[in-house]
């Protein structure tokens, strides 16, 4: 009897083993391998790797001006990602939280960009922004706003914001769906009680809707932080980090260093800096929100 109980204890581990093996081979090992690599100078092709200790990290924090620019851009992007698509998603969810065919159609329309691959989205928006034949400038010119028709992605002052507009377009649908699910889980009785107590629409929203969406906020905002910090695809496809290095973010700078400039060790160090930022920013936030 005792033997049966003892062997039964191992059964969960047996069930976990395949997933654990896959996880270890495809995630844990590459992760630690890249950490190991970040202490080397390596061109990513040859057999020779030179140990440089913490030099790659020192270069990132003290010498590399583009890394500084990319870090600032990444944090601005993350802040924007935290505020703009999430707020718009909430507003859309509130507006579309009702029955009827129109609402369903609009939900589908707003959600559909979320299922498109971001590189494809970036290319399409790149054409839309094209100064010569892009639909945005064509529309501006046709309504008499030709002075505003500029090279949105070519201009140092507008390239970053223009890329972020695309990010917002692509990312507004997902929080909207999550908020819609959250709104539908709030008991209608609370709203009725608030109405009986004389609460107006704003007070109902502030005291019933927002607390009722706490769990959804945790998911939406933590995903926004993570998506913001690891932004890569859109910047890569739309501006390639330019003009100059104006739109470089940590993800693209990691790629440029690791793949374009043959500094695989330095690229790995940047990857670990991104991971550290995510850990420092996202985990305490998620824990705090979850515990509340």
């Amino acid at each position: 009897m005792r033997k049966t109980v003892k062997s039964a204890r191992h059964i969960p581990y047996l069930f976990m083993a395949p997933a654990l093996a896959i996880y270890s081979v495809f995630l844990v090992y590459p992760m630690f391998d890249s950490l190991y690599l970040s202490f080397f100078e390596w061109d990513g092709l040859s057999a020779k790797k030179t140990f440089v200790g913490l030099n790659n990290y020192i270069e990132f924090f003290f010498d590399d001006q583009t890394a500084r620019k990319a870090t600032i851009n990444t944090f601005v992007w993350t802040l924007g990602s935290l505020v703009i698509p999430s707020s718009l998603g909430l507003i859309l969810a509130l507006a579309l939280n009702r029955g009827g065919k129109v609402s369903v159609v609009l939900r589908t329309i707003f959600y559909s960009p979320a299922v498109l691959p971001l590189v494809g989205v970036g290319l399409i928006w790149g054409w839309m922004y094209n100064p010569n034949f892009g639909v945005i400038n064509v529309i501006l010119k046709s309504v008499g706003l030709g002075d505003l028709a500029i090279g949105w992605l070519s201009n140092f002052n507008t390239a970053f914001a223009a890329t972020f507009v695309t990010y917002t377009w692509a990312h507004v649908g997902f929080p909207m769906i999550l908020y819609l699910a959250g709104l539908q889980s709030i008991n209608q009785d609370y709203y009725d009680a608030a109405r009986v107590d004389g609460a107006n629409a704003w007070q109902s929203f502030r005291n019933v809707t927002m607390p009722g969406l706490t769990e959804t906020h945790v998911i939406v905002l933590s995903l926004a932080v993570i998506h913001g910090l690891k932004v890569f695809d859109l910047v890569y496809a739309m501006t390639y980090g330019g003009p100059g290095r104006e739109t470089q973010v940590l993800g693209t700078w990691m790629y440029f260093q690791g793949f374009q400039y043959y500094h695989a060790g330095y690229g790995a160090a940047i990857a670990w800096v991104i991971a550290a930022f995510i850990l420092v920013l996202a985990i305490p936030y998620i824990r705090r929100m979850s515990s509340n």
Binding site: D43, L45, G151, S154, T239, Y261, Y262
Partner: protein, 419 residues
């Protein structure tokens, strides 16, 4: 009854052996062919497969970004241990990392086996040779220059320029007629870089330009400032299609197709691209722009085929390269399939591809050429160059500051190489 299975097993093994030996292999062929060019190459692949029934060739293309992304794709496949068997490569510093790292196979034995030495001119082969070893098989000898709309030139009575002043006078004439002088695409940097290189060629002269590219002279000098200033002037005078920094090189052809821009700096491949875009090739021609020197030069570079060191099929890969570089084979296929072939004896049908014919004349003439800057500099340094170039275009950096800043970057880069 006891039956021994040993004889049966032996028979089965003998039957299976030839099947195993003749198992069909797939030869992975990496290149930058666009969709139209892949179509042109389909019969070539089919023919090779017909002659070698146990080999299947699979094209793996990374088209559209020039040398910006393709080398990264190659490198990733090599590091992960799954390189293509045969791969396309440019020359100079783009090819250097693949040779230095030992990822490209030394082909000296194949040169002897297939007699490739007689197939290519020695200077062309030299582009594929480093430290006495040959890593590549020449594919094309490419030239770049200004392609222009000959119909617009005729209409506006624009003559081909013999001096830079005449070229700029043409630009002024075109501007008056409401046509941009040139179009360029700044995304990735290299396409606009062709213009910047040309301007530096005009202001520094051929010899100094070569020394600058070899980093044998300081970039912080008046002729470089003048070259950067020329780029700025072309923008300020409205001679370039504006707002081009985020425009992809291929998209920058559109204003020329539309007749809104007169010319574009492109290579011999444009003839095929014009046909693929349903443009009337009769309306296009090209000229090597003047550099105000007795030694007028075009921008030129070589392209080559390489075999990955870790290929499992080196002999089949070499046989494939031997097939596609054979001038007798090349002549069997549609004109334009092997444009500007580097193989001696490759024929060009001037009636079908007149521009290729014209390029052949230029390349085989005594005219000199200069390598594009991105084949001189390593990728990190060229990244700095393009960053500064963007700054000049956007008016963020003055030509004087740009020359000084780039020289500082050169010094930093050189010190990194020493350490």
């Amino acid at each position: 009854m006891k039956i021994s299975i040993a004889p049966l097993a032996l028979a089965a093994a003998l039957c299976a052996a030839p099947a195993i030996a003749q198992e069909k292999i797939t030869l992975r062929f990496a290149n930058t062919f666009d969709a139209a060019f892949q179509e042109l190459w389909k019969p070539v692949i089919t023919q090779f497969e017909k002659l070698n029934p146990m080999i299947q060739v699979k094209i793996e293309s990374t088209a559209g970004s020039g040398a910006a992304i393709y080398p990264d794709v190659l490198r990733t496949s090599m590091v992960t241990g799954a390189p293509p068997d045969v791969f396309f490569m440019w020359g100079g510093t783009i090819a250097a990392p693949f040779m230095k790292s030992g990822q490209a196979r030394v082909l000296d034995d194949e040169y002897t086996k297939f007699g490739w030495d007689g197939r290519f001119a020695a200077p062309i082969k030299a582009r594929s040779t480093t430290a006495g070893k040959t890593y590549g098989v020449p594919y094309r000898a490419m030239g770049m220059a200004f392609w222009y709309r000959s119909d617009i030139a005729e209409k506006l009575k624009i003559k081909l320029p013999n001096t830079v002043a005449e070229l700029e006078q043409n630009c002024a004439t075109l501007k008056t007629a409401g046509i941009y002088c040139a179009s360029t695409g700044g995304k990735f940097g290299w396409h606009t870089g062709r213009l910047t290189e040309y301007f530096i060629e005009t202001t520094c002269g051929p010899d100094r330009h070569d020394k600058l590219n070899a980093l044998a002279e300081s970039w912080d000098q008046p002729c470089v400032v003048a070259g950067f200033q020329r780029l700025r002037t072309w923008i300020d005078k409205g001679w370039l299609v504006p707002d081009f920094l985020a425009v992809a090189p291929n998209d920058s052809r559109i204003p020329v197709y539309q007749g809104r821009a007169f010319m574009i700096f492109e290579g011999g491949w444009l003839e095929g691209a014009l046909k693929a875009s349903d443009q009337n090739v009769q309306n296009y021609s090209f000229f090597v722009p003047p550099n105000d020197s007795a030694n007028r030069r075009y921008s030129g570079f070589g392209e080559q085929w390489m075999i990955a060191t870790n290929t499992k099929h080196p002999s089949q890969a070499a046989a494939f390269i031997n097939f596609i570089t054979d001038p007798a084979v090349q002549s069997q296929f549609k004109p334009g399939t092997f444009p500007l072939s580097a193989s001696i004896g490759a024929k060009v049908d001037c009636a079908v591809t007149p521009m290729e014919c014209k390029w052949k004349e230029v390349i085989s003439s005594n005219m000199g050429s200069y390598l594009p800057t991105d084949q001189y500099f390593d990728k990190e340094l060229i990244g700095s160059f393009y960053e500064i170039q963007d700054g000049i275009v956007a008016g963020k950096v003055t030509p004087v500051a740009a020359a000084k800043l780039f020289q500082e970057r050169v010094v930093t880069w050189k010190s990194k190489q020493k350490s």
